[in-house]
């Protein structure tokens, strides 16, 4: 991919991560690995950590420090009530945008 996907991720990456956390708790390293698996090949390590700090400060997730056998302690994030609310708002916004774009794609044919 490249620059195009990078710009598109602005605004959506946050929703993606929250969406992952809505299914199960997870920590940064794990989320990054999972995203790479899903084809987001160039998502930078640091990006996820910075994003997690942000959503924590906004109170969308709860954090728990869990010791790991394989390295430094993990910070495990889980979506809280406020986060769920925000995620719903995210999906509404996404739907709005996706609809308009699909319309444009068909119309532009």
């Amino acid at each position: 991919m490249g620059k195009l996907v990078t710009e598109m991720l602005k605004g959506t990456l946050e929703g993606i991560v929250l969406s992952i956390l809505s299914g199960r708790s997870a920590y940064g390293y794990e989320i990054t690995a999972w995203l790479r698996d899903q084809g987001f090949s160039d998502i930078a390590e640091g990006t996820i950590y910075a994003l997690l700090v942000r959503i924590e400060q906004r109170g969308l997730v709860d954090v728990e420090k869990v010791p790991s056998e394989k390295g430094p302690p993990r910070k495990v994030y889980s979506l809280n009530a406020q986060g769920r609310e925000y995620l719903e708002e995210f999906w509404r916004t996404w739907s709005f945008l996706a609809e308009r774009l699909e319309q444009l794609r068909d119309g532009g044919k």
Copy 2:
């Protein structure tokens, strides 16, 4: 809408505008008005003009100055071959992202 849609527009607004131009030529004021009609209520005037300058500099559009009966001359933009190519790339990237997101939305249920 608000901040959420603003962030999501980063990267997609460009595709939206190119997509509009793939159907017919248009000028900034016209595009802004059309977008507002489509529900993008808070797209700023200046944003579209800045975007048009950008895509012009990247050689994705051709420009023609056309006198207007109702005001200063219009800068009418039309998509050129390079722009069409770029637009296709945009749709590929969009599809990639949209697919992943739909998957997440279903999975997160």
